[in-house]
Each structure stands twice: as C-alpha cells, then as structure tokens.
C-alpha cells in the first residue's frame, strides 16, 4: 500500500519517478475513504485542492526537498487560508470558520511543496487527552475500536498509524502529541518550547503550547522538524538557534550516551506491562552502547497540580476572544451585549472548555491569584530546575509516555480529575519547556501499542532523535501496523 510509506521512502520513489505525487495523494485519499468511517480521524477533507496541488507538483517534476509532493494532514487548529478550521468546537463549526491566512508551519510546508489533504480530529480547542471532547465525536484507536486514540492530537496519531497520510501535524501542551502517538503506535515529537512557531495555530495555553509532528519513523521526525523549525517574526517566543544538523547526526549512534531512568516515572499506578516494555527498551539501548543511570525528579508528583492551575488560567484568557463577535457561533435576539456574550459562549463551548475557563477565572480572580497562579508559577520553576539538574548527570531521560496503553472510550466521562491524571508523565515536560520524542517500544498482551519517551535538555532535539533512531534501527515495533 502506497500510503504506508514513510516520507523518506516516498521521497526516494518520487525522485526515481517510480511514483507520482498524485498517486501518493490518491492512495491516502482512498485509505481515508476506506477506513475513516471506523476511526473518525479526519474531520475535513480537502481532496480536490490536494489533487490539484499534487498535479502541479508532478508537472514541475522537481523533488528537491524530501517533503515535496508528500501528502499530510494537519490537526484542526492549524489555520490554512481558505480551508475550514474549527478546533473541533461548535464555537467555530456553526458558521464554519475559514481563516484568511496561513499558520507559519503550514506555510513553511507549502513552500517546500508538501500537500495538505485535510484536517484531523482533536479534543475541543485541544483540551482533553482522548478526543472525546471533540464536537465531531471521538477518534478510535486503530488497534482496538472500543478504545480511544488518545489526545488531544488523537486524529493525527490515528491517521498516521492507519496510513491515512504520510505524516501529520499536532500540538503538545501537556502531552497531546506524545500520548496519542503512544496509544496508536507511531512516532511523535514534542519540540523545545520556542523551537517552532505557534503563529496561526489556535492557542490553548500560550506558555506551554508547542507545534510538532506525528510520523512513521524517527528519520521522518527529523525531516519535518528541520522544515518547520526556526525563528518566526510572527511568534516572538521562537528562538534563532540553528536547527540544521538533526538529520545529519541521526546515524551517529549512542555509544557512551548517558540515559537516566527517573524512579518517579516507574512508581505505583503504572501498568506492569508498560514498565516492563520501557525497562526492556533501556536494556536494548544499553546493548547499543549507552550507559543507563538512575535519576530522581522528586517534584514529579506536583506537576499535574501545577499544570491544572497554569493551563486553565491561560485558557480562560485565550478563550476570551470567542465572544460571538469575531468568529462563528452567534445567539439570536440578544437583550443586550452582556446577554449576547453569555449566550453565544455558553452554547458554543463544550463542557471541558467551560470547566477550564471556570477554573482559570477563579484562580485569577481577586484574592486568589497569589495562592494559585503565582504559587503554581513558582513550583514550575522548581520542576524546571529539577530537570536542569538531572541533565547535568545524564544526556537524556527515558520514561513511559502514559501509565497505561489506550483506555476504553468513556472510561473517564464522569471524572474530569481522573482524566487529568492520565497526563502524569507528559505534563512535567511542558512545564520545563524541554523536548520529548515518543516512540513505540512494545505491545501489551491485548495487542495495544506501548510507547516510551526520550527527553532531552532544552534545545536538545538532536540527541533524542539520534537516540530514538538508534533504538528504532535495533527494533521493529515501529513497523507493526493495525489491521483495519
């Protein structure tokens, strides 16, 4: 099946004229048409435009960049001029929001000739870890349709795992790329905060949001990263640190690399099969020449509490723009402006978005700011410092991505706190602003993928990609495909 190729494989075939971009695009479209009714990963299909673009690319016949002519899907929060984008929220779905501009990331991809074929499902405004809060309904795990694909980039992860595209874009604010990659058995890269531009991607929590990718191999992750990363005048938090080099050093091996195992990430509550898979991955990396050391990150237990103060506070501020005036959803016959705001927002937002707006509004309200927001910002400093200290002893850290494999649809419907706790191993990384690479490292006895994450110091993408590549070469987990 053509759509199951990695970017690297497809690029070779394009260059040798063994396939055309139209054929690749058509293969992805057919795959979506065949399997997506079961998965619900793709929420907007931009097929006609994609085929037109692919035809133009083929007629130029120049495949100079590895992404030229490669079809991809973007999470439904990436603005593309003229393409409906709804954040999977009724707030933007009703009078479908059609952005009049491109996000920096999709623009950079377009400049290299990558072909955008549509939009993927996400939790509403990326708030959730199962895509169950999407106004289009849940995305199913390609390995077991009674389970979730994870979230919030669940649509992107399921689409990559099911070969509906060659790669997909996601966002990671508290684990939203790494956890679905782990649940669906694909590779996900969460970058250092500031490595990629957030411009034109709908914000959730601005100090934590990162733009990254879901792919079929570590090599592909390096390719996409090098294409989308780098300073952007439209996002003042982007860094001008050079990004080239990740791809070149990928194959340099991990002899002598110091890998830390944080004991707090193997604590009680973790599924024994997950623990076993990650420990055996550490053993594989030891055989490849790495040195495995124990490290400690004692404030890990405060990460969820810190995150679920800071994130909702930033959400309450970012969601203020959805006022029924600038975009989409409206309310009929308002009494006055206040009534209009209240009715437009109350009927446009779903329950999880409202919950986070409420927590954030409370925590930022007069008299509570110091006790909640300021306190959480201080604990964030301690969590960040703790990672910096750990990276004085080791080059990278290896841990599980999630405590369990994919959970059942509806497992946490009545308990938002239990849902929040699913993020226990992923949110500390966003608080610290460091990069994390999620990659498949085994299967449970129920044939569900298990993922591990390689964490690097700030701007340390090169090292985690190199380590991930070495592991991938030595194992074949990433080549396993779900039967659909």
């Amino acid at each position: 099946m053509l759509s199951s190729l990695t970017i690297t494989q497809a690029h070779q075939k394009l260059k040798k004229r063994e396939v055309s971009s139209v054929e690749l695009t058509r293969a992805c479209i057919e795959r979506i048409e065949n399997v997506d009714k079961n998965l619900n990963a793709v929420v907007y299909r931009n097929f006609d435009r994609a085929l037109e673009e692919a035809k133009k690319t083929d007629s130029k016949g120049v495949f100079g960049h590895p992404l030229t002519g490669i079809p991809y899907l973007a999470k439904d929060v990436y603005c593309e001029a003229g393409v409906p984008t709804t954040a999977c929220s009724n707030m933007l779905r009703e009078k479908t929001y059609v952005p009049p501009f491109d996000s920096t990331t999709t623009k950079r991809l377009k400049a290299k000739g990558a072909i955008s074929i549509g939009k993927t499902n996400t939790d509403e405004f990326t708030m959730g870890c199962s895509t169950e809060t999407s106004c289009y309904g849940v995305t199913k795990c390609p390995w077991d349709l009674s389970r979730v694909a994870g979230g919030s980039s669940g649509g992107s992860a399921a689409a990559v795992a099911a070969d509906e595209c060659m790669f997909a874009l996601g966002t990671d604010t508290g684990g939203s790329i790494r956890q679905p990659a782990s649940f669906c058995g694909c590779v996900g890269l969460k970058v250092t905060y500031g490595r990629t531009s957030r411009y034109g991607v709908m914000s959730m929590a601005s100090s934590l949001d990162t733009i990254g990718t879901l792919v079929k191999s570590v090599e592909d992750a390096a390719l996409v990263l090098e294409t989308i990363a780098g300073k952007d005048p439209m996002d003042s938090t982007t860094s001008d640190r050079p990004v080239l080099g990740c791809f070149q050093s990928l194959k340099d091996g991990i002899k002598g690399l110091k890998i830390g195992l944080p004991k707090e990430y193997f604590a009680k509550g973790i599924d024994p099969e997950v623990e076993q898979a990650v420990r055996s991955a550490a053993e594989t990396m030891r055989r490849l020449g790495a040195e495995i050391l124990d490290v400690t990150l004692p404030r890990t237990k405060y990460a969820i509490a810190t995150y679920y103060v800071l994130c909702p506070c930033e959400v309450s501020s970012n969601m203020a723009r959805y006022d029924g005036i600038r975009y989409g959803h409206t309310a009929a016959k308002p009494k006055d402006l206040l009534d209009y705001y209240q009715r437009a927002r109350s009927t446009g937002f779903g329950a999880e978005v409202k919950r986070r707006i409420m927590i954030g509004t409370f925590a930022l309200s007069a008299g509570y700011y110091d006790a909640y927001y300021l306190k959480a910002q201080k604990v964030r400093t301690l969590i960040k410092n703790e990672f910096e200290d750990a990276f004085k002893q080791v080059d990278i850290i290896l841990s599980p991505v999630a405590p369990t494999p994919a959970f059942k649809v509806g497992a946490h419907t009545d308990d938002p706190l239990a849902m929040y706790l699913e993020d226990v191993f992923t949110v500390p990384i966003n608080l610290a602003g460091i990069p994390g690479l999620s990659l498949p490292c085994g299967f449970s006895k129920d044939h569900l993928p298990i993922g591990m994450q390689l964490l690097g110091p700030q701007w340390g993408e090169e090292t985690i990609l190199r380590a991930g590549y070495a592991y991938e070469q030595a194992t074949d987990w990433h080549t396993k495909k779900p039967v659909l």
């Binding site: 919950r355 409420m358 509570y368």
Partner: protein, 98 residues
Amino acid sequence: MSTLSKAQVEHIAKLARLTLTPAEAEKMSKELSSILQYVEMLKEVPTDDVPPTAQVTGLTNTLRDDKVKPSEAAADALLGCSPLPIVEHQIQVPHAHG
C-alpha cells in the same frame, strides 16, 4: 479555600461571561471543588525564595523593526469571519444597554 459553593460558581460564571443552568452549576461546583482540593497539594512545596516562571525560553526583549508592513489578511476578510452584520467596514454588535 478548596470548595466552591453553587453561588460562587455562579459568580465566577458571570465573570467568565458564561451562563450555567442550575444543574450545570451544581455539577460544576462538585467538579471544580474536587480539582481545587487536588491542587491544594502545592501548599506543601516551600517556595518562599523561588522566582515564578512565566516563560521558559530565556529570551528577553524580542523586538522587531519598527516598519509598517501590510497585513497578511485583508481587513474585510477578517470582518467576514464575524456572524454579525457588517456596516461600513464595522461589525454591528448588540447594544450595551438593552
């Protein structure tokens, strides 16, 4: 302060420009209280001399050239995203006072 009464929930909803049905307010009061109780654990962490982290990049004073550049999206295209009537290139919003 780790529980939120229904009345407090209604007050916060007003600040957030949301209207909750009585049933929603009841449910929200329980859910928010349980989340706030969980968050209480932050009190255990001594932070007296710890500076807050608002951003993690280490960048300071990122400035751009003070030059006028055309916007990527035309003004009328942005106005076109509004669900409300457009009058003379402006959005006509409901009256502020009834």
